[in-house]
């Protein structure tokens, strides 16, 4: 594993950041890979329109776990309107590893959850 994956990826897999759940998150979505079984949930708490806290929970491979961990770090402090601008390439680049095409779905699973969560998010009109 060490030869294929960067120190950054391995560190985030072994010591995931922002792992856990949020009480009453404003945005929450869970996605899974139907064949390999990775399952990741992303949760965000907003302060007005800014992400004040981000968490992920799930059982995933090294790539999907590290990607989820790195993604939560990217999200905190961002305006909710800007979250959809986070690209596939941006997250894959953050992993600092040569992700093979067959494993792209692992790396992008947390981003998929984020995008679905944003899609379903309806801001409180008050």
């Amino acid at each position: 594993m060490a030869a294929l994956y960067s120190a950054t990826l391995l560190d985030h897999f072994r010591h995931p950041r922002n792992y856990g759940i949020l009480p009453e998150p404003d945005i929450s979505n869970e996605q899974y890979n139907p064949l390999c079984g990775d399952r990741i949930r992303i949760e965000l708490k907003l302060d007005r329109s800014t992400v004040s806290a981000a968490r992920f929970k799930g059982d995933g491979c090294a790539i999907s776990t590290a990607a989820a961990s790195l993604l939560t770090e990217l999200l905190i402090g961002q305006n909710v309107a800007d979250l959809s601008r986070i690209s596939d390439a941006q997250l894959i680049s953050a992993l600092e590893s040569n992700i093979q095409p067959a494993r792209l779905q692992c790396a992008l699973l947390p981003l998929h959850a984020l995008r679905e969560g944003i899609k379903n998010y309806a801001p409180d009109p008050s």
Partner: protein
Amino acid sequence: MEELFTDIEKLAQAEKRVAMATLVATRGTSPKREGAKMWVGEEGRIFGSVTIGGCVDARVIAESEQALSSSKSRLVEMRLGDEDAWEIGFSCAGDLDVLIEPVDVPNLIELYRTIRSAVDQGKRAVIATSLRDSSRKLLIVEGGDTSGSLGTPDLDRDAQIASLKLMKRRASGTISLGPDSTPVFFETHGPPPTLIVFGASHVAMPLVSLAHDLGLKTIVVDGRPRFATRERFPDVDQLLIGIPSEIAETLVYTSSTFVVLTAHDYKYDLPVLKVVLPARPAYVGLLGSKRRGKAIKEFLVEGGMDSELLDQLHVPTGLDIGADTASEIALSILAEAVAIKSGRSAAFLRETK
């Protein structure tokens, strides 16, 4: 356990007073284990059995009727000759002791409903009965709650200590306690044995079917709805789909719980083991080679897990029976799990004493 409660509920409908016969000790081979019960009602109804044969049960029924007439408990010791023994399955000329107690059904119902309530909460419970005076009983519920008494605080304390071992083995039996060796029968109850399988793999399928045939409650957990289906697991009691380690946190683990990880995938094995091992179920088995098991253990220790917790982990899981097919692997896993729970060596019977 379910059978016992069913019999008692039937009694509640039909009888006010019964003789409760309990198999409290066996010597030699026995068709039923200590704790087997038969009830003979004042109105003549018979529920349950302490053996599989006619002549012993017939004698128990006769003794029960006398106990009801005299309103006195009795301990009946049956020494079976070779001929009788062969007749009823005691082919090794076993002996057995049966305690027969006249009891009011409402009191019996109250006692067993208390036990059932504990069992439904995942706890074990033991009724300790003095065989010198069967009116002296101590109910011990896992966690420390007690009611009743065997007669002295010292006996009650000794009984609580003895009950812990029996609860762990989920076994009933007679043990002599105190300086004057008071024989005390311990009747142990606990949650039904449960098999929890993480990973709806092809090995999990025969594992669940076989466990179902053995009378275990079965639960299958996976993150993939396409694998965790009723079609693949027609006998399963519960199919749970979600984040496996998150589901693992919601399950109850007792001394009657077997956990087997069959995903053969570290993404499930690592987070689930972090939850399951500290809960100390009866058995934890992990599908995989010794090499894989070593790597998994090292990762968990690096993550802060106490290495003592890892001693529970059976990896590779199963007995060395030359298992090749999924069904054979399932058989080998369940055979090991039952042996561990029973505290047995899983050796060939002909080589055991």
